[in-house]
């Protein structure tokens, strides 16, 4: 590239500082600009100043959050390890690759490079954190008489989390309710949580199905009360998605209604 072309390109990138501070770049341009930021000290200072300005716009929007949000976040915090590894030993530890923040164990990690002053966060990471936090929150609430069942479930959960190919994913319906999964394709295991769904009326239940192309849905079990996770075993590697339907008490051999939510399994290593 000629010097002039390079200067023009640089000039062009500089002009993106304000749109960047306002988050008004699409992901491709954002990436290019952040790459440029790492080598441009004067831009870093400018972006920092413009970002402080943009953040002040946020102050006119402050609003009291729903009261229940505080309990949920604080419960999740109690069950969620921090990055890097600064947490005390007794906190449930997760293999880092489950969070989506690090490559799988076999790959070596590139040396850490200098980053812009705020770091974009991987959406998958927070999604995984919420799924896993809800698992541990449920475990913490088990009463003594349920302890045996809980312990066996806890073993399954730890089994999934320890699998080298364990991955987490979440999906949501158009009303913001969500389904979360931590799964291992090699073990054929998945832990599935529903959040935001009321218990169906009239004794009906939420039933989980494995979906495969050219195959009938296969029941993976019924969700219990509240947000208790469902441990699904024997998942086929070729499964493409999970689906949840509302069924009569005791469940059905085949779904009798449209799924209320579905989650693709490709990102967690299934569907081959």
């Amino acid at each position: 590239m000629s010097l002039l072309a390079r200067l023009l390109r640089r000039e062009d990138l500089h002009s993106l500082a304000a749109p960047y501070a306002l988050d008004a770049l699409d992901s491709g341009e954002r990436y290019r600009f952040e790459k440029h930021l790492r080598t441009c000290d004067s831009c870093a200072a400018e972006v920092r100043a413009l970002s402080e300005d943009a953040a002040r716009l946020a102050w006119s929007t402050a609003a009291p959050p729903p009261a229940a949000m505080r309990d949920r976040v604080l419960a999740a915090v109690r069950a969620t390890p921090q990055e890097p590894s600064r947490m005390p030993e007794h906190t449930p530890q997760l293999p880092p690759h489950v969070w989506g923040t690090q490559p799988p164990p076999s790959r070596t990690r590139a040396p850490r490079e200098r980053r812009p002053f705020f770091v974009p966060l991987a959406t998958a990471t927070a999604a995984a954190a919420l799924v896993v936090a809800s698992l541990f929150a449920v475990q913490a609430r088990q009463t003594q008489d349920k302890l045996d069942a809980a312990q066996s479930q806890s073993r399954e959960i730890n089994h999934v989390l320890a699998a080298p190919d364990a991955r987490a994913a979440t999906g949501r319906d158009n009303q913001g309710r969500s389904i979360g999964v931590v799964a291992s394709a090699s073990e054929g295991l998945a832990i599935v949580t529903l959040s935001g769904y009321e218990q169906p009326p009239g004794g009906r239940v939420h039933q989980l199905w494995q979906m495969r192309p050219h195959a009938q849905p296969r029941s993976l079990g019924l969700f219990g009360q509240g947000d208790t996770p469902l441990v699904a075993t024997g998942l086929d590697k070729s499964a493409t998605s999970l689906a949840v339907t509302v069924e009569p008490d005791g469940g059905s051999p085949q779904p009798t209604s449209q799924p209320i939510v579905q989650l693709a399994l490709k990102s967690v290593g299934f569907g081959e």
Partner: protein, 182 residues
């Protein structure tokens, strides 16, 4: 307030849950309000805000006090998430619906009317009012509505370069106007 948030975030990075509770008290309102302003849908806003707040706990160690205030960092993270969510939601809406929405979109300056009472709000509103119309529209369509500068240019029928300049000028004018208010 700003200093307090900075100090708390450093404690949070060390695993201090009490400090996180205090930090939550300081930032949950701004984070939730900002996310709701951009995302609009209440259930989705709550979900995004929750993810952001939990991410603060997990990634507090990434905060570098030498490179900006904690509050700005937190709101930047929250805004980025909110914008990503609203854009993926928009991408899901098919073209026809989008056109219909566009036709019914209220006046661009609605934000200044939606802003409620309060000293901070009052100042921001006053300073936004002092911008030129194009500066204000460029800044608010991007920041409050989550549009890219290309989309803003399209909506306002302006060349890309003009929108970039208006955004920069708008932010710099805001800085001057808000200068004395912390």
């Amino acid at each position: 307030m700003r200093v307090e948030a900075d100090e708390l975030l450093v404690l949070v990075a060390g695993g201090d849950q009490k400090a996180f509770e205090e930090l939550y008290g300081l930032v949950a309102g701004p984070v939730f309000g900002l996310v709701r302003r951009v995302v609009r849908d209440p259930a989705q806003s709550e979900e995004v805000a929750q993810e952001v707040l939990l991410e603060l706990w997990r990634s507090a160690a990434k905060f570098d006090p030498g490179r900006g205030s904690a509050l700005s960092w937190i709101l930047t993270v929250a805004h980025r998430r909110a914008v990503d969510r609203v854009r993926s939601a928009r991408a899901a809406v098919d073209r026809e619906q989008r056109e219909a929405l566009r036709a019914h979109h209220p006046a661009f300056d609605q934000v200044t009317e939606e802003v409620e009472a309060g000293l901070e709000r009052e100042w921001v509103r006053r300073c936004l009012d002092r911008l030129t119309t194009l500066q204000r529209q460029s800044v608010t369509l991007a920041y409050y509505d989550g549009y890219t500068y290309r989309e803003v240019a399209e909506r306002l029928s302006l060349p890309l370069g003009t929108v970039k300049t208006r955004m920069r000028d708008g932010l710099t004018q805001l800085r001057k106007c808000l200068g004395g208010v912390a």
